[in-house]
Every structure is written in structure tokens, then in C-alpha cells.
């Protein structure tokens, strides 16, 4: 068994510096907000037009004019600000956000990202802000399980799903390890105790580069 979703989120939060402006995607990335290390403060951006987003609203706190990009009622932190959509995405494309943490269907060994649609003919395509975040954030982190439920590795030689952006992913945080895609292939920077490089090489079909800390 690998790291849990909360452990993955906590691991991501360790790599985000104090004072960072961060956009968190839906799902596992959202959990990063619950694991901000003591002594750090992140300013959360939600692309529908807010900086300084607080936690999800409890029943008594719901304000019908205050939601996040996942359309969940949220709250306002001290220092919050509101802005329109063109400003919100100017912030993203203009490289003002230091980090975005997003989920993925596939990440290629060169850092290509596929996270907006599958190839199923019955799914409705919807891209939202994924393409803007992938090209705009200074650091694009992916948080995901390494294998699908049917056992396919989501780190791949080349994406078979439609691309979100090319060569944009800096780090991939998973239940079994932390990976860095790049022009020379995927470097493994951390491994869960239950995993070995050879096993992951076998299951992924990738020539994983050993960048693990030497003990």
C-alpha cells in the first residue's frame, strides 16, 4: 500500500514555499489546503475570481455569491480580493501564480499533460481553466494515483489522451513515489517503502532515472 491521498497532499504542501500564490484543482489537489505546514501561509487563488479563498463554508456560513471553481461554497480569508475573469486569467497566464496543483489522466515522460478529456465518445468535453493553468503557473505540480483502477500507469511515454499543454509538468506526486519528468525522461526523486525502481520500471514501461537520495 502506498501513501494515502492526504499524505500525498501533505507531501505537495511541503514543496510549496511560504507566501506562495497557489491554485488548487478539484479532487486530491484541494486537500493540499488542509496540510499547510506550520509557519507557512499560502494565498489560494480560485479562477472564478478570488484570491484569499478560505475553507469550504459550513452550513451557517454559506453566502450564495461566494463559490470556488469547483462550484463549492467557500469562505473568505483575511486579505482576500475579488476580480473579474479576464483579470483572473491574466494573473494565471501572466505567470503571477507561483504554483498550481492539478490532477491528471496522464503525464508523459517529457512533461506533457493530459487532464481534460478522455477519448470516450460519450463524454462531454469540458476544458475549463486547465490549459491556462498548465501554461501559466510558474510551477505545475500534478497530484494523482500512479496507476488507474485497471492497473495502467498514468506516467507514460507519450500521452494517448488529448493534451492539455506540452512539457509543462514539473513534478508528479503519487501514492508510490515523487517523479520529475524532463527532456531526458522521468527522474524518481522519492519512493514509497512498498515500491522498488525495478518494479515500477516493469509496470510503467519507462526507463526511470534513479534520482533517489543516497543513504
Amino acid at each position: 500500500m502506498g501513501w494515502t491521498r492526504n499524505q500525498i497532499a501533505a507531501r505537495v504542501a511541503q514543496d510549496i514555499p511560504d507566501g506562495a500564490y497557489v491554485n488548487l484543482g478539484i479532487g486530491m489537489p484541494t486537500l493540499v489546503a488542509d496540510h499547510v505546514p506550520p509557519g507557512k501561509e499560502f494565498v489560494l487563488h480560485t479562477e472564478n475570481g478570488m484570491l484569499g479563498m478560505g475553507p469550504a463554508a459550513l452550513d451557517g456560513e454559506i453566502d450564495v455569491d461566494l463559490i470556488n471553481a469547483g462550484k463549492i461554497y467557500v469562505t473568505e480569508n483575511p486579505g482576500a480580493s475579488y476580480f473579474h475573469h479576464a483579470d483572473s486569467f491574466a494573473m494565471i497566464r501572466g505567470r503571477h501564480l507561483s504554483h498550481c496543483v492539478i490532477g491528471a489522466y496522464q503525464v508523459a515522460q517529457n512533461g506533457d499533460l493530459a487532464n481534460w478529456r478522455t477519448t470516450s465518445p460519450t463524454t462531454i468535453p469540458g476544458v475549463g481553466g486547465a490549459m491556462d493553468l498548465a501554461v501559466g503557473a510558474q510551477h505545475v505540480f500534478v497530484a494523482m494515483e500512479l496507476f488507474t483502477r485497471s492497473g495502467e500507469c498514468k506516467l507514460v511515454k507519450a500521452c494517448t489522451y488529448p493534451l492539455t499543454a506540452t512539457q509543462c509538468v514539473e513534478r508528479v506526486y503519487t501514492d508510490l513515489g515523487v517523479f520529475e519528468p524532463g527532456p531526458d525522461g522521468v527522474a524518481v526523486v522519492e519512493l514509497h517503502a512498498s515500491a522498488t525502481l525495478d518494479d515500477l520500471r516493469h509496470r510503467s514501461g519507462l526507463d526511470l532515472i534513479d534520482a533517489l537520495p543516497k543513504s
Binding site: 479562477e47 463559490i67 475573469h85 479576464a86 483572473s88 462531454i124 481553466g129 491556462d132 488529448p162
Partner: protein, 233 residues
Amino acid sequence: MAINKVVESAEQAISGIDDGATLMVSGFGPPGQPEAVLEAVLAKGVTDLTIINNNAGAGGVAISRLFAAKRVRKVVCSFPKAIGSTIFDELYLAGEIELELVPQGTLAERIRAAGAGITGFFTPTGYGTELAEGKEVRVIDGVPSVFERPLFADFALVRGHRGDRYGNLVFRKTGRNFGPIMAAAAEVTIAEVGGVLPQLDPEVIATPGIYVDRVVVGADTGADTLPATGTEA
């Protein structure tokens, strides 16, 4: 004569919206949806509409009903999938609606460009993806970029928090979303507001009245968040 853009009813506000019109509709999820104006569009029975809206009929009751009533020929949006609504999915899979899918930031910037007199722009968003297929690509200072055109509409239906007789608008929290940019990108802009005040604080106006043609009062969603919003009658 004293300027007064405030009209009495949503029905009056939508005067001129006919079959085949292109409508920008503000809103991201429920905040910012001009519900009363959309209800009037639905009641008028106009059809063959093109709707520019981030979520293709999700997030608001009235806009969902417009789609369900098959009044929409084409939608330009970034994210048509909706939690708790399958109306768009059914129409799309049945081939009964045309979809132009645009990345969210590109959608916002195309709307902004239209209102700002910008005849096109290059953006890195979408490069190397199927959403850039057929579009001009240039490498500018080493950054591969896709050419995008402005996006105009016949009418913008936006939702403000408060307005005044000049058409000045203030917004509330994440209800601002597409309101200010859509207001500038249409031939005629109709602003639904939670209330009209005699005067708004000039320092907090997010949409100056030059962009707004008609103001109509709809439901009020919340109290003023700032004492400086305006002066009560």
C-alpha cells in the same frame, strides 16, 4: 433630460432580443446569473440563440430551462459539464446543439478584447492541443502562441449587485466573474441588479455606466459588503 437607464420590467429590458440573437450571459455557477432577465427571454419564446457563457446552462435555473426548451442553437463555453444537470449532455450527444469549446482564460480574453477594440491576440494557452487545430501559431520570443479572435455579442445579460440610473455597476464576491467584460463586448448590455441606489461610490464602481444600456432590478442576493457601496435612498 436626466439620464435614466433603469427600466421597469425584465420584459422591457430584453426588448430587441429576437430569434437568432447572440447572447452573452454572465455567471459562474449560481453567482452572477441574471435570472430574472433570462426568465424573460424564456417567456418571450425566442429561439435559435447563440449563448456565450462559461458553463452552457449549468449553475442557474433559468438558463438551464432555456437549454431544456431547445431555444439554443449554439453555445460558446469552456465547461459544459454540470453537476446535477444532464440537459446539455443529452442535447449534445443527440447532435441537437453546436459546441464551440474555448479554454476559460481564452474565452475571458476574447470577450475582453472585443470590448477593448483589440482585433486579435496571441496566447500560449492551447498550443499543441486539439483546441488550437486550424489556428495560426507563431513563436514569439520563444513562446509558441495561438492566434485568437475577439468574441462579440448582440446582447450581454449581466448581473450586478447594485446599480444606479447611469448604469454604473458594483458586483458582489464571486458574482463579478464575467459581468464587467461581457458588459463591454455587446451591442446592447442589460444589467440585472439586486437593487438601484441613487448614487454609487465612484471609487468602487467595477463597470462604468458607459458599457450599460439598461438596468433592471431582480432578486437581491445579499447585503452590501461595503458601507461605501452607495447611498441608500
